[in-house]
């Protein structure tokens, strides 16, 4: 049984200007110890998917319309608050995309780091502080003894991000959800953090959901990858298959846009057009309006995520029909 299994998750935002279908029928699962990468269009619902699982949606305007998210037998979307508290923040931890909105600006780093320990474990303040200092050192913050007493604004962007990482790992979670955790870091520190995550994974058998735009990071860290577009998963495969034989036109477009694979200074390849308006029901494939292969059928039939080969699924009707 997978550690986490999400089925048909739909999270909509009910706003004055309409209903935004941020997540619209997403299913996936994560095994113990496995690393799942989530990539995709900015605004495609990657973060909202994770907020839904971890219970941090702003409700309202957000509403979970349907779906289940079983973590080790408990449906996180329908369990009691007490059950949720026992899991979230301890067995499932999350690193957020924006460190400043999740760190309390008026609280010293030390207080914020030991808080989850004091809540979830029987531990003295003194010992909690020692563990927090050690954790801060292992994410590469020098002078941790002194700096642990600073406030968030006294840290650089990347250092704040490392504080967030320390905060998430300090309770030794079984599932780590990392939303662009290394985007703000230089590549050497990034390499160090990725090593730390891999090490925790080996030692604790921790599973990881890793959201990133950096396809280089995905290729080094992830076992499997899923690609999201406009609130849906459009392709999922093991990492090698996804990089060597992407099938969905959006995935292919994404891969073609990588700057390091294009000559310096040249106009970069981009996917023409704008993302669809998710406040209107989308008949057919959400990518059709921007897809060079689209036919009339693509805008009429809602595509399903269908396996092409074992473990490789994608939604393009024309790929499924063997036409492209």
């Amino acid at each position: 049984m997978p550690l986490l299994s999400v089925t048909d998750l739909r999270t909509y935002f009910h706003t004055r200007s309409g209903i935004y279908r941020a997540v619209d029928g997403v299913s996936f699962s994560v095994e113990r110890g496995e690393t799942l990468g989530i990539v995709g269009e900015s605004g495609s619902g990657k973060s909202v998917t994770c907020y839904s699982i971890i219970g941090l949606l702003p409700i309202p305007p957000a509403r979970i319309e349907s779906g289940t998210a079983f973590f080790d037998g408990t449906d996180l979307l329908h369990c009691t608050p007490a059950q949720a508290r026992a899991i979230r923040g301890k067995r499932v931890a999350m690193i957020f995309q924006d460190p400043m909105t999740s760190l309390n600006p008026y609280m010293r780093i030390s207080e914020q780091l030991i808080e989850p320990l004091l809540i979830h474990e029987k531990i003295t303040r003194h010992n909690a502080l020692a563990r927090a200092t050690a954790m801060l050192e292992s994410v590469g913050i020098n002078d941790a003894q002194k700096r642990i007493h600073l406030y968030p604004h006294e840290f650089s962007g990347g250092m704040r991000q490392r504080v967030m990482i320390a905060m998430a790992l300090i309770t030794k979670p079984e599932l780590l959800i990392a939303d662009e955790p290394t985007t703000a870091l230089d590549v050497t520190v990034q390499a160090q953090i990725l090593e730390l995550i891999k090490k925790m994974q080996r030692e604790l058998g921790m599973a990881v959901i890793f959201i990133t735009h950096d396809l280089g990071v995905v290729s080094g860290l992830c076992d499997r990858v899923q690609v999201m577009y406009a609130g849906r998963v459009v392709e999922a495969a093991d990492v090698r298959t996804l990089f060597h034989s992407p099938k969905h036109p959006y995935t292919r477009g994404l891969q073609r846009s990588i700057p390091s694979l294009q000559p310096k200074g040249a106009e970069l390849y981009t996917i023409a057009g704008l993302p669809p308006d998710v406040s209107k029901p989308l008949p057919g494939c959400a990518f059709a309006a921007r897809c060079e292969h689209a036919t009339a059928r693509c805008t009429a039939t809602t595509p399903a995520l269908i396996e092409l080969a074992s473990g490789h699924a994608q939604t393009c009707l024309r790929v499924q029909a063997g036409e492209i």
């Binding site: 230089d186 846009s257 390091s260």
Partner: protein
């Protein structure tokens, strides 16, 4: 240099670090930027890279005068901003725009996209009031946002969408220089490519100068003419973008370049990285001599005593390493 628009002369920005609220105890000084000298030409793109916490954002904020300089001079078209009057600085703001690293913190949560983009247009009287809505829509289209989002608030957007609002706001005043602090880090590669094309186009068409801060070296290489590499408040290497990334000379740059992840699982899992021993140093307590010496695979006794100066090494390249010649062929 031909036609410099911006000059930094020995710029220093230090922060005091204190503990305690009422009875402050001095813990020391963070020398976030410590002696940076640079020239930016009109129409040039300068990439700025370096370890997280090395002072890139502080340098950016110092250039646009959001933090006071501790020493040195920031000179824009001959005017020294560090000694200028407030009205002068206000006028200069229009020419010098910044895109912040954190799109969450830099947008006013109570202002719609329309209000955010219309405000600078109205304050500086850029266009007739009647044209403001059309201009706002145009700015949104330029950064790839549909104008139908005009009446939405920042929290209703994803990270990448907010970053595009921030870029549109910087473009609103048609500045001469944009200081962009990690403007594309939060974007997917396709939108990233759009923004990079857009910035490159603005540079060409409007002779815009750009300081581009990023961690993704392949992006930096793509867009920049020259690249400056910072380590602990100082520039350690400066040169043409392709030279720096294809043939890095400073040992820190070498480690940095070797850590660039490649978008190919087979290559990425087998390649060699220069792993730096030890942790990044604390800017409160920098190492004596060359700041990089405790982690440098090539450090000798001399590196622990003398502070290397940034000096010419090859054509169009400056390096701050006393052993640069000896290690060039290693």
């Amino acid at each position: 240099m031909a036609d410099p628009i911006l000059e930094l002369r020995d710029v220093r920005t230090h922060f005091p670090v204190t503990q305690g609220f009422l009875f402050k105890r001095d813990l020391g000084t963070v020398k976030a930027v410590d002696g940076v000298t640079l020239t930016l030409a009109r129409g040039e793109v300068l990439g700025l890279v370096g370890e997280s916490g090395c002072g890139k954002s502080t340098l950016a904020r110092t250039i646009v005068q959001l933090v006071p300089t501790t020493g040195g001079a920031v000179i824009l078209e001959g005017k020294n901003l560090t000694t200028g009057s407030t009205t002068e600085v206000h006028d200069i703001r229009r020419d010098l725009q910044m895109v912040f690293q954190d799109p969450y913190a830099s947008l006013n949560p109570r202002m719609t996209v329309y209000a955010t983009l219309a405000e600078p247009l109205l304050v500086h009287g850029v266009c007739p009031v009647a044209d403001v809505p059309a201009r706002v829509a145009e700015l949104m289209r330029i950064v790839g946002l549909a104008p139908r989002f005009m009446q939405k608030y920042p929290h209703e957007f994803s990270g990448g969408q907010r970053q595009r609002i921030a870029i549109a706001r910087a473009l609103a005043l048609e500045p001469k220089i944009i200081i962009a602090d990690e403007p594309v880090s939060a974007l997917d590669v396709s939108i990233q490519a759009q923004i990079l094309n857009l910035l490159a186009q603005l540079v060409r068409r409007m002779n815009l100068s750009l300081v581009f801060i990023a961690h993704d070296l392949s992006v930096v290489k793509h867009i920049s003419d020259r690249v400056a590499v910072m380590y602990l408040g100082k520039i350690v290497e400066l040169g043409r973008a392709a030279d720096i990334i294809e043939r890095p000379r400073h040992p820190y740059t070498r480690a940095l370049v070797s850590a660039i992840p490649t978008p190919d699982p087979d290559v990425e899992r087998t390649r060699q990285r220069i792993v730096l021993p030890g942790d990044p140093p604390s800017p409160m307590n920098p190492p004596v001599g060359c700041a990089f010496n405790p982690r440098c695979p090539h450090a000798k006794e001399i590196c622990k005593s003398s502070v290397p100066r940034l000096s010419s090494f090859e054509a169009d390249r400056e390096v701050a390493c006393v052993r640069v010649e000896e290690i060039a062929n290693l």
